[in-house]
């Protein structure tokens, strides 16, 4: 097989003219990535005792939960027969990687829901006692009728939170590593088929989780007129930089491997990169989204250069760029992999539309919904850590 696009008339298979997977399939790994990434940040505090991350530990799990609650939405919007969506869990095919989604997702969400409930139980119980009017009933329901937390119960809760956080780490890794596997295991597509795909997805997931959490923290502090915790910001910057180094290393390593071996698929991938993905891959994913944050982040992560405000701004800018990087990466994988025909002799276009079930507006709504949920959750639950450990009874 040889790729002739440069020399010959392009030719695409008739069924390859329109990419099957839309922007919704770009959003699905983008959102699940943030779910996994935000949870990993919370475990840094709850499992690995990084005290500096205490200010965002609760926010991290709640963010993860809100994002997770919306993770299936893009899939539903994409399915051509959404009314049959539950077939995936009702009659799953054991040979299909995709069939694992329902179980992996459900397990992860179960861990997350229980974790969040235990984490906020002291606050829920306290509010069930003191909240006025209808709120009292809401909190009583959330407390599942148990309005007292004995020291022994608090101790059990603490252990359970620890255990769930520990279980949640591999669960989050599986949740997103599995998403990478969905693409990596497609031998029909040389742009996807790679054993590194789960690792690439996982590291970029952590990166996006840290980035979104950083931005949320900065935004919420600004809105509450709070000064962001300097050590927390430094710690987030370090984590972001470290995982970005890993993500970019894996992404580049995978591509360099294909480029260096120069097997038959390289011809089509090279063409793809220098034509269809020139802006989204080279400019957005690699330069603006990766190189710039890698240069910016060491300032807030490892130096005391200039003022704390300047360093915060550096972290914020880098976090935005990183979110662009991860979005571009998802786009380049999902859409990029469908921009060449399986004839390997020609390219197609992905028509971006504004309206419709899989249009840009629907995508914007899907992205906004978790934030809306988070706003609601913050009305209901205290995402900032209590002023002292003793106040809550458990390590929060």
């Amino acid at each position: 097989m040889e790729f002739h696009a440069l020399h010959d008339t392009p030719f695409i298979f008739p069924n390859d003219a329109h990419p099957v997977w839309s922007i919704m399939i770009v959003l699905y790994p983008y959102i699940t990535g943030m779910v996994a990434g935000a949870f990993v940040v919370s475990t840094m505090y709850h499992v690995f005792q990084r005290e500096a991350l205490r200010p965002v530990a609760r926010l991290a799990v709640v963010t993860s939960l809100c994002l997770g609650a919306c993770a299936t939405l893009p899939l539903l919007l994409h399915l051509h027969q959404p009314q049959r969506a539950l077939n995936v869990v009702a009659t799953p095919s054991p040979s299909s990687a995709m069939a694992g989604f329902g179980f992996i997702y459900s397990f992860y969400m179960l861990v997350l829901v229980v974790d969040v409930w235990l984490l906020f139980r002291p606050a829920i119980v306290e509010r069930a006692r003191s909240a006025p009017g209808a709120w009292k009933s809401v909190y009583r329901a959330l407390a599942l009728g148990v309005l007292e937390i004995t020291p022994r119960a608090a101790e059990i809760d603490r252990k359970l939170i620890h255990a769930l956080s520990v279980i949640g780490i591999p669960a989050a890794c599986i949740l997103h590593g599995y998403v990478g596997f969905l693409f990596g295991a497609i031998k029909a597509n040389p742009w996807w088929s790679s054993s590194l795909m789960p690792v690439i997805f996982l590291t970029s997931a952590v990166v996006s989780g840290i980035a979104v959490l950083t931005l949320l923290y900065l935004f919420l502090c600004r809105r509450s007129r709070m000064e962001p915790d300097e050590e927390c910001m430094r710690s987030l910057s370090r984590l972001l930089w470290m995982f970005l180094v890993l993500a970019v290393t894996f992404e580049c390593g995978d591509l360099l491997h294909v480029a260096y071996e120069r097997e038959e698929e390289w011809h089509v991938i090279r063409e793809l990169l220098v034509t269809k993905l020139r802006f989204s891959y080279l400019t957005l994913q690699m330069f603006i989204g990766a190189l710039l944050p890698l240069l910016i982040l060491p300032i807030p992560a490892f130096t005391r250069f200039a003022s704390a405000g300047f360093r915060r701004a550096c972290t914020g800018v880098a976090a935005v760029l990183v979110l662009v990087q991860v979005a571009a990466m998802r786009w380049n994988v999902v859409v990029g992999g469908q921009l060449f025909s399986k004839s390997f002799r020609g390219f197609v276009d992905y028509p971006v539309t504004w309206f419709g079930r899989e249009g840009l507006l629907a995508a914007a709504v899907v992205l906004a919904l978790p934030m809306l949920l988070l706003w609601g959750a913050m009305k209901l639950l205290p995402v900032w850590p209590p002023s002292s450990e003793s106040e809550s009874g458990v390590k929060t």
């Binding site: 020399h7 099957v20 399915l79 027969q81 299909s96």
Partner: protein, 296 residues
């Protein structure tokens, strides 16, 4: 050895040998070549019974898997030419590129027979034109034929050689589309033909991505996955697929490969054939005569 090949063992020479079914001295496995030493035979029989019991239990447990219940009633390997003859007919498809003239009759026949929407295709024919200056151009044969299409054609004096390659479902024994379907909507018929259960398909498109040959598509009228199924409904009526019937040159040959007297068996026995994208290991049942390197 794959689990699906287990029945082969029980019906093959090794099994006959183990159960004492072979002619004395005729066995080459060495287990009972000199006469029939009773103890050896008993041990062998016991071993066989043990193995057979294990295999039977194993096979029974396999049927408990949803995959076995919904789609894999027949051992896939049994349907591959060269595999064991099962109780079901074994079909094959042969494309002779040296006979195809690009008439396009097969394309219309398929579209009409299967109600394929415009802009999508269960089968198509590619034309490869090698020019004297080294260029290779590939295009699709129009359904109405080149003459009626009005498209400018290459000048004969510039062309070194040209040929046509019809494409259709390869009916892979190890079909990636079947493997990735999350809900058993991709099923193998008892005859080993890959089908889509349109009542079960959720329209995720994973099978479309997984097919290396670009055969599958999301039918934009029915909103479920669709593909060539060798006109299964016609085959079950002992008819030929629509494209085969319409082909004026005999470039498409369909038939039972387990019948040595069928045309396809005779041609497979005499002509060197190959398959598309062999390196992917999908084991296509659609075979080609005259396939060249350029064809993807």
């Amino acid at each position: 050895m794959s689990l699906f090949e287990l029945p082969i063992v029980t019906s093959g020479p090794a099994a006959r040998c183990a159960s004492g079914g072979c002619a004395t001295g005729g066995c080459t496995s060495g287990g009972c070549s000199s006469g029939s030493a009773e103890r050896a035979s008993e041990t062998s029989r016991r071993e066989f019974l043990k193995t057979a019991t294990t295999m039977t239990l194993g096979a029974m447990s396999l049927t408990l898997l949803p995959g076995a219940m919904a789609g894999d009633e027949v051992p896939a390997a049994a349907l591959h030419p060269g595999g064991p003859a099962a109780n079901k007919p074994m079909y094959g498809f042969l494309i002779d590129t040296t006979k195809c003239t690009g008439a396009g009759k097969c394309l219309t026949a398929c579209r009409v027979e299967n109600g394929v929407p415009e802009g999508q295709a269960r089968t198509w024919v590619e034309r490869y034109v090698h020019f004297k200056d080294g260029r290779v151009e590939v295009d699709l044969v129009p359904e109405i034929g080149y003459a009626a299409s009005g498209e400018p054609q290459p000048a004969a004096e510039d062309v070194l050689r040209a040929y046509f390659v019809p494409k259709l479902c390869n009916q892979c024994v190890d079909a990636p589309c079947n493997q990735v379907c999350p809900v058993h909507a991709s099923i193998k018929s008892p005859e080993g033909i890959e089908l889509v259960d349109t009542d079960r398909c959720i329209g995720c498109g994973y099978c479309v991505q997984a097919c290396p040959y670009g055969i599958r598509y999301m039918n934009h009228e029915t909103n479920v996955a669709d593909k060539c199924n060798w006109c299964y409904h016609r085959v079950m009526r002992n008819e030929q697929p629509a494209c085969v019937e319409a082909c004026p040159t005999g470039a498409r040959v369909f038939g039972r490969v387990d019948d040595p007297e069928s045309e396809i068996s005779k041609r497979l026995a005499t002509l060197p054939t190959s398959v598309l994208k062999q390196h992917l290991g999908t084991l296509p049942l659609t075979r080609y005569v005259g396939l060249t390197d350029e064809v993807t």
